[in-house]
């Protein structure tokens, strides 16, 4: 893909990924076909900061995990009052990383289409 488009994508979306993944994502984008640009540029990524806010407000019921698509863990948190309150606090620190991992998964899914 055109380097200019790739750099534009990276500038707007780098905050949605882990810093160590950004370089690989850029390389993947440079390799893939120009026709995928329309799909790639229209992906909606989840904002890690929004998920942190949800985790603070409603983390005890697992809403944060449901929103990023980790339904299994979400149910676990819902049924145990946020893992007896402990897992809800641990998740305050894990949720931003987990959101970025999920964003990478969505990106990979679209890039491989």
């Amino acid at each position: 893909m055109d380097a200019q488009k790739v750099d534009m994508f990276m500038m707007t979306n780098a905050k949605f990924f882990e810093s160590h993944q950004v370089y690989n994502i850029r390389n993947i984008l440079l390799e893939i076909d120009e026709s995928k640009w329309i799909y790639i540029s229209s992906i909606q990524f989840k904002d890690p900061t929004n998920m942190l806010i949800v985790s603070i407000l409603a983390g005890a019921w697992g809403i944060d995990r449901f929103l990023i698509g980790d339904t299994g863990i979400g149910i676990g948190k819902l049924l145990t009052c946020g893992g007896f309150g402990i897992w809800a606090i641990v998740d305050l620190f894990l949720i931003m990383g987990a959101t970025r991992e999920k964003n990478l998964e969505t990106f990979m899914m679209h890039a491989r289409l």
Partner: protein, 137 residues
Amino acid sequence: MIRNRNKLYFFLFTACIFGYVWLYLNFSNSNINSGITACYFKNLTSLPCPSCGSTRSAVSILNGNFIDAFLINPLGFIVVTIMFIIPIWILLDLILKKDSFFNFYKTSEKKLQKPIIYIPLLVLILANWIWNIKKLL
């Protein structure tokens, strides 16, 4: 986060062990209502959360009082079933070197993301929550 079979099994296994320890502590304590409240939503607002009372419900099930358990919190039945099945299924998978539980987990996660399935469940959870608040668990 969990896309790796062994990570998922390890996570669920430790979670189940914590659950068993918690249940044992509550089970050996004869007066259930004097137990510690772990739910921080309840500690903050003094309102019960959707799953408050599932420990008491699980203890009632273990004592054989199924009607009491249902009246305290129906979610206790789900918790007990999950805690009973998961360790056995995981151990079987580890012994037979299969990943049937991991596949089941992934497919059920995908099914639960369909609105036609999650909306009724959400309504049930909300109804249970309202019932919990009315009962003042």
